[in-house]
Symmetry: C2
Subunit: 443 residues, 2 copies
């Protein structure tokens, strides 16, 4: 347990700094990142005697669990993203800043922005999330984009839709098949969800749209280095998921290690799989900001936090969510999922209130309520410890849970409408190829 | 009247050319551009004994009259764009190709694509639309983007939202006011609609979202070179529109000629208006493709077509919509609006059927059913010749007409939902700043 003494570290009045606000006497909590962790921490401090500054380099909170739906043209970006300002409009003790943090000065207790500004803090919550990790093969990135933000999702959507467009104009059968081959690297929830969604597009949504090709000829190949899909789930649910994928026409290849990725092929061991579109869902690492702290990180770049989620030696700095390596009872780090970030965000908020009152900090305990994954139209798996469900019921559970956690009542309505629509009509609302002509030409 | 002899000009089988289809014995109609003109021409040929190839460099039909709503975060791109393939899915005599046409060989009767392919035609419909015209001042374009496609709309949305974000962090009062000043150049329907929508965002939608600034301090300035707003409408409706704009807090400045536009200011005559965001809605010209035909064009680059919409000397080539200068009874070219393009598309389709049957072509007559413009929340003007309406009733008319013409039942439902929502809750569903961090940094 660590006691924190209150400091009165103020914003230095630089041209691009924040104007100080009336309530400058209370502790200043700075929260970097408005994902699940940052946003829930902010909300939990709504009635606390603090002033809060939420800093994000984007203006929207992103509902990442549904990002694969944007990448596969099922949802529009606006349906899974919500302006941070609007989410915090009613919370008068919070100010939102659009800025990119490029440095943390733990001694002077301030942050540096990319544009030269800076801001001081009394308490700091780093909730900066994760980014794709290519395990040292960053040269694969151009040919196998990951799925961590809206731009990447729109890029993947463009690649998938353009592959069909180019196949329609292609007369060489080998190249045509290459264009109609989609490879997913990594069979975690994202890879499984993407594979199912692409299969649905090819077999149903676009089946009648072309004249020279039949999208049903597409190959969707899901590669997994380990022995089974959804490795975080119990083996029986992995088997159910693999059976559902196979039934949808996805080729599942487990124990398949990718050794190289180029523009038009993926190497699996010694064997080349010709494919114009490859998507990376094999791994993530913590966002680069926390590496700059100069504190111990694990192999995925996550900060090894104390049991109360503070940075070792810095009891006023908290790291939560995908950026933190918090070890559970068995000594394994908690997974990078929304419930962990949400619970940590709330816990840190209550710890800050305790610290401000001179009380000791409390250790964090994760309450695992289960995990869910969807495989495609009306199929899913759900693992609630003793209760394990698959098929339609798991899919409905997945739907309800995701709609419940979507920020903003309006977005919930829209997403429900879209899903109902596509369930009955096999439509995909967001089949747009956007971006400049130059970007399209690159393909 | 011109008689057309049928030719059997076929696609040359190049690697990237189109695979020939079974119905190769019937005339081949190639339609370039799937805007209103191209799409309605295609649909009108549904039961004709022709095979149709629709070529567009984008994969979606865009409902341009609502583009300003995307630029002002009221609608998502997916709500006003519809995949061309999906729109023509049921029309088995039509194939859609995603390709950019870079040349027309009128003698050999074929088109060249940017990627090296080519395609032959028996009949050609050029419906390539219009692009922004800066009247020789193309250097203004980076500081005053126009609004002709989705990318430009998203760029404008980003600029408007970022201006507020930067103002929130700005401490210099003069620069802050500059960031909160929005200039619209040109008071046609697009300029008027944009001014009204930006005023609504500043006064209502975002009024409570900031802590350091009050968005209600924004200045929205609508500049018009002529003596009144909406110059194509009767003077009494222009006056009504100006009164409605003024009531919403828009500064309307008529007889104001822009002499220069830079990053942070607009010069009106000798007077500089400091403004971080300027939007161009002052003029358009025909898309560059028709200029390459080597036929007479007017000062806006539009092809001077015959009374039957053919290219002079080329009775199998038609030019319609914004790309054509069709003179009405008074010798004035028809305006670049959707009803003109739709009627011309349908007329050309029936002329092609006549030609294929050896009948003479018929001249085109435009049936002007009136014009509508909206000014903002619950205000509009409508001109149906003798019947002139303004205010709430005109706004409802505008709403119904636009929803009726939206392609795709699903999009209609979504747009209606969005509008109902924003009418009651002053919400804006699509307030996302997308694009790379680098693009945002440029501002």
């Amino acid at each position: 347990m660590v006691e924190i003494t209150q400091t009165a570290n103020e914003t230095r009045p630089l041209p691009s700094a924040v104007a100080s606000r009336p309530s400058a006497g209370v502790p200043h909590v700075v929260i970097v990142g408005a994902g699940f962790g940052g946003l829930y921490a902010t909300r939990a401090l709504k009635h606390a005697a603090v002033r809060i500054t939420v800093i994000d380099r984007r203006n929207h909170h992103l509902f990442q669990p549904l990002l694969y739906q944007v990448a596969t043209a099922g949802l529009s970006p606006g349906e899974i993203a919500y302006p941070i300002r609007a989410a915090l409009r009613q919370q008068k003790n919070a100010q939102v800043l659009l800025a990119e943090v490029t440095g943390v000065d733990l001694t002077a207790r301030k942050l540096h922005f990319k544009d030269g500004g800076e801001i001081g803090y009394d308490y700091l919550i780093l909730a900066t999330g994760a980014t794709d990790s290519y395990f040292g093969h960053d040269d694969w990135q151009p040919w196998a984009p990951g799925l961590k933000n809206l731009e990447e999702a729109l890029d993947i959507r463009r690649r998938i839709l353009l592959a069909f467009e180019h196949a329609e104009r292609e007369t060489d059968p080998a190249r045509r098949q290459e264009l109609l081959t989609f490879v997913l690297v990594g069979a975690g929830p994202t890879g499984v969800e993407l594979a199912g969604a692409i299969a649905e597009i090819a077999r149903h949504v676009m089946a009648e749209d072309f004249r020279s090709i039949d999208p049903r000829d597409s190959r969707i190949i899901l590669l997994e280095g380990g022995p089974r899909v959804l490795p975080a789930f119990p083996p029986e649910l992995s088997a159910k998921a693999e059976a559902a994928l196979t039934k949808m026409g996805v080729e599942v290849r487990t124990n398949s290690r990718v050794t190289a990725i180029s523009r038009d092929a993926v190497m699996v061991g010694e064997h080349a799989v010709p494919a114009a579109t490859t998507i990376w869902s094999a791994g993530v690492k913590a966002s680069p900001l926390v590496k700059m702290l100069g504190v111990p990180v694990d192999q995925a770049g996550r900060v090894r936090v104390e049991s109360n989620l503070t940075l070792p030696g810095h009891p006023q700095v908290f790291v939560i969510g995908d950026a933190a390596a918090f070890l559970d009872g068995a000594g394994k780090p908690l997974p990078g999922v929304a419930p962990v970030a949400i619970q940590q965000g709330r816990h840190v908020a209550s710890n800050i209130v305790r610290a401000a009152q001179g009380k000791p900090l409390e250790p964090f305990h994760y309450h695992n309520k289960g995990q869910l994954a969807t495989i495609g139209r009306a199929a899913g798996v759900a693992d609630f410890g003793r209760l394990r469900v698959s098929g339609f019921v798991a899919w409905v559970m997945w739907l309800l849970v995701h709609i419940f956690f979507l920020i903003g009542f309006r977005n919930r309505l829209m997403v429900m409408f879209d899903w109902t629509w596509s369930y009955f009509f096999y439509g995909r609302s967001a089949r747009l190829i956007t971006g400049t002509m130059e970007e399209n030409d690159e393909r």
